[in-house]
Symmetry: C2
Subunit: 172 residues, 2 copies
């Protein structure tokens, strides 16, 4: 339901059409969520069926008409509900990268170390890029900081993992 919350929250600020929503999310919110174009349209259609938003055609110049979405009263109520749920419940995170570690003993420890070093480089670059990002206004600042803290934590953990495999590589 996070994506529905996101769309409602953006539409609540100002009416938009689908493409505009998608662009905004890909450009400005890429750090905290992903929302492909067809998914955005799918969700907008679903929310229209549920009566959370209403759409109307709009025509600008001689460009083809666009569907502009507007949050209804029911949608506003839903937004409040979704927002409270989102804030009060932690979203459980699963680390796909841990699955490889479960099977790491299929490889020589030296190989595992080499592969994890690669992972480390990408992670460190991601952290550096996030830290270098310009200080954003208000609410997005929290998201950026969250990301930085998370990536720092990941790097620290990864280093302990690498250290362990390095140790076992020397005794093989």
């Amino acid at each position: 339901m996070d994506r529905e919350l996101l769309l409602l929250g953006l539409l609540r600020r100002s009416d938009m059409h689908g493409y505009q929503l998608h662009e905004f999310i890909e450009r400005d919110l890429a750090t905290c969520t992903e929302l492909k174009k067809p998914t955005a349209y799918f969700l907008l259609d679903k929310m229209t069926r549920l009566g959370w938003i209403v759409q109307h055609e709009e025509r600008e110049g001689n460009r083809p008409p666009r569907r502009v979405y507007h949050v209804s009263a029911a949608g506003e109520a839903q937004f409040q509900q979704l927002l409270r749920t989102n804030l009060s419940q932690p979203s459980s995170t699963r680390f796909g990268g841990d699955i490889g570690l479960i099977f790491a003993n299929s490889l020589a420890s030296a190989d595992v170390v080499a592969l994890l070093e690669q992972r480390r480089v990408v992670l460190a670059a991601d952290l550096a890029a996030t830290q270098a990002a310009p200080a954003h206004a208000g609410s997005l600042q929290l998201v950026i900081e969250h990301r930085i803290i998370h990536l720092e934590s990941e790097l620290g953990w990864l280093d302990t993992v690498i250290a362990r495999f390095t140790a076992s590589a020397s005794t093989e």
Copy 2:
């Protein structure tokens, strides 16, 4: 592809049937991944089509026959490939819980604080439960530790967020 890696990795250890795989994942690997029953069967069918695994019927007593899966040579190669990719590339994490924070200014700061306190309680309980888990053997130990470190980091971050909203609540 993480789920394919997981299934291949488990089947490589010993042949299993679908239900058995699902049970094992739900019971022992719930901390690091989720894999619903129909998804497991879907992926097993797909991997069979791709030639990564082969299935054969097996009958025990007068129970209904079961399909037992076995990793083929092509599947073994694929496993190595997927494992190396998984280890060398960090899996980018998205925090659905951050979406609510983007719109937190729609609520009174005092309300946000109350909601985040709830989130904190659940998170702390999760951490306590994970720390209390019995020390697992070898590779799963890494996953548990990862989870603990992550949850500690999340709690620390959440506390700074709560502090900020508490501060702004007092000036409203």
